[in-house]
């Protein structure tokens, strides 16, 4: 028996070595194939996640709930302090609420006068965060919605407060959101009061730094940062966060989205904007079935025009602006979350 086994091992040693060498070659080949044809392997990866992650939901739910309970228990010891802070904050917010109500009325009036249509195609699909990547150097989460719900690569995602990231990888039932904090995330933004363009460059930290600022001397802490829509994929005007300055004089963004508790995420269903191919169509517009073919500007200027004159060059819509200035802001034509079958492009 002992001799048989030792003889067995004598011949198993070299065979094992060969097998290990083959294994190493296979692994190296997998890596090289990924390096050469990354999209195909990435699709395989998403397909694997599609298989593995959703059935794990039942196991994750109780543990996630337990962790949340522990976290909220930890917060009990400073609940009194929090209560005081919240009361103070509430007082301030009440005055803000008054201001906001007045501004909202004013805004509705101005919108009605200007016949501005906010982008009606910007509807959203909501998803639940299933899992994260489980690696400290890669910041992304998996959502329970995928190509079945019409999700496409590159769409922006936000929670209730601000931008969370973008879709990078769509499976049948899951999609991956690359968070703004990931080291490979780059998002063009505008810093609000000064209008400076910049990039939010993720570096795995809680507050990603701002890079490529045009004129850094015009940027101050507490400026608000919104997505600029450059590049065409991201819609503009989504709140990202506010500027903070670290001790090394670098500007970073304190993100508005609550990254410590990402649970529900909205995926903004953005269509690519129509590109303007040349000057021709701007000067000679397409003849419309009603009304004369008049020259019209590319986009209505953001300045507010006085209401009483319904200028035909300003409003090519069939009905001119209602002269009495009643607010008729049209509601969103599409429901917020359509049925999965009703999504136009699968």
């Amino acid at each position: 028996m002992a001799r048989a086994r030792s003889g067995d091992q004598d011949y198993r040693g070299p065979v094992r070595r060969i097998l290990v060498a083959i294994l190493c070659l296979v692994l190296a080949a997998v890596f090289l194939v990924w390096r050469i044809d990354s999209p195909r392997v990435e699709r395989l990866r998403v397909a694997l996640l599609d298989r593995i992650v959703p059935p794990m939901g039942w196991a994750m739910a109780p543990i996630t709930t337990l962790a949340d309970m522990v976290a909220s228990f930890q917060s009990y010891d400073r609940i009194y302090q929090q209560n005081q802070d919240l009361r103070r904050e509430l007082q301030q917010l009440k005055s803000w609420k008054e201001a906001a109500l007045q501004l909202e009325q004013q805004n509705a009036k101005l919108l009605a006068q200007n016949q501005v249509r906010l982008d009606p195609k910007l509807t959203s699909v909501s998803g639940v965060v299933l899992a994260d990547t489980g690696s400290p150097f890669s910041k992304s989460v998996l959502l329970n919605i995928g190509s079945r719900d019409g999700i496409l690569d590159g769409w922006a995602t936000m929670d209730g407060l601000g931008l969370v990231g973008r879709i990078a990888g769509v499976g049948q039932n899951v999609s991956r959101v690359l968070l703004l904090t990931d080291a490979s995330s780059r998002v063009p933004v505008t810093i609000q009061p000064s209008g400076q363009r910049a990039m939010v460059v993720g570096d795995n930290s809680a507050a990603p730094p701002l890079d490529f600022i045009g004129a850094p001397e015009q940027v101050h802490p507490n400026d608000s940062v919104v997505s600029s829509g450059d590049g065409g994929v991201f819609p503009g005007g989504i709140l990202v966060g506010k500027v903070i300055q670290t001790r090394d004089k670098r500007f970073r963004v304190l993100l508005s989205a609550d990254y410590s508790r990402l649970e529900f995420v909205r995926v903004l269903r953005s269509r690519p904007e129509e590109a303007v191919p040349g000057a021709g169509p701007l000067i000679v517009p397409e003849p419309e079935p009603y009304g004369p073919a008049l020259p019209q500007p590319a986009a209505p200027p953001p300045t507010i025009t006085p209401p009483p004159l319904p200028d035909p060059t300003m409003s090519p819509a069939p009905e001119p602006a209602s002269p009495d200035g009643t607010p008729d802001v049209t509601p969103d034509p599409e429901p917020v979350q359509p049925a999965p079958g009703a999504v136009p492009n699968g």
Partner: protein, 198 residues
């Protein structure tokens, strides 16, 4: 009737898969997407350096630690195929380039496995030193390979922090596994119930 030695070996191989699966599963839990300083209570965080507040504490690579422990203590309880499968899965889940980190870990653990019989009479700190060298070597090789293939890499400081935390985790995890699973190093000349060398 399975002989006890084979039964033990199969049990520990299954236990490795179970532990690795648990680590991967816990890593997937969507608890928080912000860097944490969880051992530090909230009130104490004000005076900490800014970099620590921004990046949080470095997170150790628990899976690597677990695998090194298993390979160093009982190499017959973990096959090279188990290492390859577990790390390839973790590569795919963690959005790393698939195959590269697996290849490095497979090569590293094979080197340790071949030398296991010679290093059996090392004191415990010797085992820890081997693990530390292996962790540093593997992480360095990974970063070099990433650089060679022009892939984006993480910040050096963060990677060094992660390596340090992994090295510090090693004795802790060793203690835990010894108490819970009875995973310990075979002594020189130790035999099993049938009088066979381990």
């Amino acid at each position: 009737m399975v002989d006890p030695r084979t039964a033990e070996r199969l049990t520990y191989r299954a236990l490795y898969f179970a532990c690795a699966g648990l680590v991967l599963f816990l890593g997937l839990l969507p608890l928080s997407q912000t860097p944490t300083l969880w051992p530090v209570p909230d009130g104490w965080q004000e005076g900490l350096p800014e970099g620590l507040l921004l990046f949080g504490l470095p997170v150790p690579d628990v899976l690597l630690c677990l695998t090194l422990l298993w390979v160093q203590r009982r190499p017959d309880f973990i096959t090279v195929w188990a290492v390859a499968v577990v790390f390839l899965l973790s590569d795919l889940l963690a959005m790393r380039p698939p195959g590269l980190w697996t290849l490095i870990v497979v090569v590293g653990t094979e080197i340790i496995r071949v030398r296991e019989a010679d290093t059996r009479d090392m004191p415990p700190w010797g085992e820890w030193a081997v693990a530390a060298v292996a962790i540093l070597g593997m992480m360095l090789a990974y970063r070099l390979a990433l650089g060679l293939f022009l892939l984006p890499d993480v910040d050096t400081g963060q990677a060094a922090g992660a390596a340090l935390m992994t090295i510090l985790l090693y004795p802790v995890l060793a203690g835990i596994l010894r108490v819970t699973l009875g995973l310990r190093r075979a002594a020189t000349g130790e035999v099993d119930q049938l009088g066979k060398r381990l």
